[in-house]
């Protein structure tokens, strides 16, 4: 997420991925009453994916992630004697 325009593209990707997870045929793979640690697999699957989608949305909605890329501060950009010398 280095530029703002990408956020929309990411959110569309997340939308498509979660849609695929919640419609057949993927859902029918996990939609079985088998108990895992005493909890039905389908129940775990639904709420797990759901929580995952929410977490990803929250990540994507954070404010100002693009600010983490700072201005390029390097020695070369500083005024230096070399430059002054060149004009002499």
């Amino acid at each position: 997420m280095t530029r703002t325009g990408r956020k929309k593209e990411w959110s569309i990707l997340l939308f498509v991925v979660s849609l695929i997870a919640f419609v057949p045929p993927v859902i029918s793979l996990f939609d079985v009453p088998t108990l895992i640690f005493g909890i039905p697999l389908s129940y775990l699957y639904m709420f797990g994916i759901w929580a995952g989608v929410i977490a990803m949305t929250a990540l994507g909605a954070r404010r100002g992630t693009e600010k983490t890329i700072g201005p390029p501060v390097r020695g070369r950009e500083q005024p230096n004697p070399d430059a002054a010398h060149g004009e002499g």
Binding site: S11, I12, S18, I39, P40, A51, V53, T57, G86, G88
Partner: protein, 916 residues
């Protein structure tokens, strides 16, 4: 439990809600709003969770397992796309002062009152089942709680209380409550702060109450989830662990799609999310907090449903009421009461928001346009209309609630909560094509929208609503089984013979086919009017148009400021209008006189302000009624706009090109000037050098010739002449050395050895070198070197060179008889400053800048020709500049010149070092 207690608790709760709303409103009026934060906003969106969620989900889960989930997954999916869908809708609502979903659609398709009216009718009819669902749940839960008998747990009696049907009492009570809440005054621009706060509070209550029952069931009755699930598995309830046991997911997918549409298109969701949104940035939080709320409130749905099934094993119980009956069955009367309050909060929040949203629509988009058309009423002459608006809204709230009650009487008894709710969702989903298409497709037209909506609505009526009447006996049952008049192809649950789908999927398929199909087709076939195109562009490109003000500036003709203010005042209140106009004038720093003709901006402002109170379509008609002269032909405006924007675009590009050209020309000119300058410098330099070389060469040759031509020269003279020759050739050598040095420096090929140098030592060394020259010229030299000089960063040999050059220069120009030279060092911030002053004539004005140029000294010092190459100062400048310092000259007031140069301190130049 006695009915008295339940009633008292209910009224106390409603009273508390009202107190919260009142408190927040009074705070907001004092300018200290409490509700302006994303958490309150998120909780208010949770009005999505109604009795359906609170009671109905459990009921559905008790019969069909996880099949209740898509109603909450759909909204989650839509909120994933928040930055594409919600931000746009919210922005449009803010820019155009949209008050409801009907207003939104009408405004998008050319501010047409007919479309707004149709949307309102669909919304009211579609919401009616939903309201009846809330009424039913409140009434049923109340009856269960107050009846003490065991059998009542299973099937609540429907005996009337106080000789009137409980549900009717509930309906009227809620109507009064909604009236008190939502229509205290007409809000033109402000948000309903108090309402939002109360709804948020209700969301907290229902969540806590639901979780309380969930915890009780899971951890009180059983030992956690796994215990509950394994007991259920042992009792043959495994089928409830899954969505579908036979891999048929058509209902699942239909419900997902429906709920996705519903979270945007339900009038109350649209109202609370988009219209009541105080700040766009709150969406950032709401976009994940709201789905999280949905997730949390759904965690215990399946456990409670399973516990209910296990508790009432083998007995047919009303699964919709497990939230109450399970705690009651286990003698937890207090918990049941808390659950009842939770259910009450879920139902009331929905009813209040829906009633307010719908009444606004009915008033703005249905009644007002009709009244305005009704010439006999002559509404244009009435003075204050705020009272009329409030009355219309209050009556519509009451009617909407009564309509819900009527639907409850006709159809609700035989259906479960979720079935009723889905009928409403299907109606709301009819708005989706017009809304989504409207914000992404400029070409969507009014005719397309109205045809799509009308057809979709008719199909919905035919395939979902009418059959529910038939099943309740209000229409002959043969309507369903044989089709109307026995036409089998028209059977409402199997249109054109399409069998095998469940009723909901069937209805959605046909209604959406007609809705989207005709919306699309008619939009392509029909011609957009100008205002449609303008509105279409404004909606689709809302982010591009937000900043300029040209939107809806298509009024021409004249209206006075007084006319406009009076018009606005009639709808929003005289004082409020006066205040708004004053603010408008103050903001723009203009003076509004009553008789002045309103300009386009003011007309636009007035129209938007009116739109906030009575909807965009009506506002347009109203403003039109006071603007004398005609409104500009919209076709004309559109053409002008279109052409203008093309011309602007074209000329903008031209401007860019010519700016680029100008820049290039300037650069070329600069480069050319620089070249010419360099050329003349080169010529100048060459003539200088040849002049300087010729002088010593001439004297060399002259003395050489003298010696050759006159062999009789005395030995003393010969020695003298030879000394002159040696001296001149030394000078020549030095000149050439200096020339080479300067050339190397200018070309950047000098070998520098930068190091930390002690200035005091260097100075003394340089002075020692000059001792001979000083003595020879009989000059008094004073050295001022402070203690503890910081070191400098420099090339030691070159530094000595600078000092020698400056001091010897000073020796040359100081007073011939009483020569005095002072060399002083001082410490500055990150430099050392060395100054060399003499007591000579000083530098002539105008020479101060040029003295450091090559050969200048020799050119302008015409009197007493002195030795020296004329390159010394130029070399000084080269060296000092390279070291990062500066050299300059100034005249002393008492006569004489001071040459000063600076050298960077070694302890203050990390930056420069890193740059090397």
């Amino acid at each position: 439990m006695s009915g008295g207690i339940v009633l008292t608790v209910s009224f106390l709760y409603l009273g508390l809600l009202f107190a919260i709303a009142q408190f927040v409103d009074s705070r907001a009026e004092k300018g200290r709003p409490l509700t302006r934060n994303p958490y309150i906003y998120t909780l208010s969106i949770a009005v999505f969770c109604t009795s359906w969620t609170f009671y109905g989900s459990v009921g559905l889960a008790a019969t069909r397992g996880l099949d209740f989930l898509p109603i909450y997954l759909g909204p989650t999916l839509v909120f994933v796309l928040w930055s594409i869908v919600w931000v746009k809708i919210v922005r449009i609502c803010k820019v155009h002062r949209i008050t409801s979903i009907a207003d939104f659609i009408a405004s998008r398709y050319g501010k047409q009152a007919k479309l707004g009216g149709l949307v309102t009718i669909i919304a009211v009819v579609g919401t009616t089942p939903y309201i009846s669902l809330q009424l039913k749940s409140i009434a049923t839960s109340f009856r269960i709680l107050v009846s003490s008998s065991e059998t009542a747990l299973l099937h609540a009696s429907s005996e009337p209380i106080f000789f009137i049907d409980t549900t009717l009492i509930v309906a009227i009570a809620l109507a009064l409550f909604a009236i008190l809440f939502g229509t205290r005054h007409i809000d033109a621009s402000e948000h309903h702060e108090g309402l939002v706060a109360a709804i948020a509070f209700e969301s907290v209550v229902k969540l806590v109450s639901f979780l309380a029952v969930g915890f009780f069931v899971t951890y009180g009755l059983y030992n956690g989830f796994s215990d509950l699930f394994s007991s259920a598995a042992e009792n043959g309830l495994e089928a409830l662990f899954t969505v579908s046991s036979d891999s048929d997911y058509s209902t699942w997918m239909t419900m997902t799609v429906l709920s996705m549409a519903a979270i945007i298109c339900l009038p109350r969701q649209f109202y609370i999310t988009a219209v009541e949104n105080p700040d766009e940035s709150f969406l950032r939080k709401a976009t994940w907090l709201f789905p999280l709320y949905l997730l949390v409130i759904n965690i215990f749905v399946l456990p409670i449903a399973l516990a209910g099934r296990l508790s009432f094993d083998g007995v047919s119980a009303d699964a919709d009421m497990f939230m109450l009956t399970v705690p009651l069955f286990h003698d937890q009367a207090f918990l049941a009461l808390f659950a009842f309050v939770g259910g009450l909060s879920a139902a009331t929040s929905m009813v209040i928001v829906a009633a307010i949203a719908l009444s606004t629509m009915v008033c703005n988009d249905l009644i007002m346009p009709l009244l305005l058309r009704w010439k006999g009423l002559n509404i244009n002459k009435n003075d204050d209309l705020t009272g009329l608006l409030l009355t219309i809204r209050r009556i519509s709230i009451l009617l909407i609630l009564i309509l819900g009650y009527v639907y409850y009487l006709i159809a609700s008894e035989s259906y479960s909560l979720v079935t009723i709710g889905l009928v409403s969702f299907a109606a709301a989903a009819q708005f989706a094509p017009a809304i989504i298409g409207g914000i992404f497709w400029k070409g969507a037209s009014y005719r397309g929208a109205i045809t799509g909506l009308a057809l979709g609505f008719v199909v919905w009526l035919y395939t979902l609503l009418l059959p529910s009447f038939a099943q309740s006996g209000w229409l002959p049952l043969s309507f369903i089984t044989d089709g109307p008049y026995g036409v089998a192809l028209l059977k409402p649950y199997a249109l054109l013979g399409m069998e095998g789908l469940d009723r909901l999927t069937h209805a959605i398929f046909w209604s959406m086919l007609f809705n989207i199909g005709s919306y699309w087709l008619v939009s392509l076939l029909s011609q957009q009017t100008a205002i449609e195109r303008i509105q279409g562009t404004l909606f689709v490109d809302v982010f591009g148009h937000t900043d300029d003000e040209r939107d809806s500036r298509y009024w021409r003709g004249s209206a006075t400021v007084a006319d406009l203010q009076q018009l606005v005042g009639r709808f929003v209140g005289i004082q409020r209008a006066a205040q708004a106009f004053a603010d408008f004038a103050a903001e723009r720093d203009i003076n509004l006189r009553k008789s002045q003709t309103a300009d386009a901006a003011l007309l636009d402002f007035a129209e938007k302000m009116l739109a906030g109170a009575i909807g965009s379509a009506t506002a347009r008609v109203m403003v039109g009624s006071v603007v004398k002269g005609e409104i500009v032909g919209l076709e004309e405006v559109y053409r002008i706009l279109d052409e203008t924007s093309q011309v602007i675009e074209y000329s903008h590009r031209l401007e860019q090109k010519s700016a680029e050209l100008e820049r290039a020309t300037t650069q070329l000119r600069n480069a050319n000037e620089r070249l010419q300058e360099l050329d003349s410098l080169k010529d100048h330099f060459l003539s200088m050098v040849s002049h300087e070389l010729r002088t010593p060469l001439t004297s060399l040759r002259a003395f050489g010739e003298i010696l050759v031509d006159n062999p009789e020269v005395s030995p003393e003279e010969r020695t003298q002449f030879l000394n002159v020759i040696i001296k001149e050739s030394t000078r020549l050598t030095r000149l050439i050395d200096q020339l080479l040095d300067l050339a190397r420096m200018e070309a950047g090929q000098m070998d520098w050895s930068l190091d930390t140098v002690d200035m005091a030592v260097t100075l003394r060394e340089a002075m020692a070198t000059l001792a001979g020259l000083i003595k020879e010229n009989d000059v008094a030299v004073a050295l001022h070197i402070p203690e503890d000089l910081p070191p400098v960063r420099a090339d030691r040999d070159q530094l000595i060179q600078v000092i020698i050059n400056l001091v010897s220069n000073a020796i040359k120009f100081c007073d011939k008889t009483e020569g005095r030279i002072e060399v002083a060092v001082s410490v500055a911030d990150d430099m050392l400053e060395v100054s060399v002053s003499d007591n000579g004539k000083g530098v002539r004005e105008g020479m101060i800048e040029r003295i450091f140029e090559k050969f200048h000294q020799s050119l302008d010092r015409d009197e007493d020709k002195l030795q020296g190459s004329g390159l010394g100062l130029a070399i000084c400048r080269e060296i000092v500049t390279f070291l990062g310092g500066r050299v300059w000259v100034a005249n002393k007031p008492e006569g004489g010149a001071v040459f000063t140069f600076t050298v960077p301190r070694a302890d203050r130049q990390d930056v420069r070092l890193s740059a090397e």
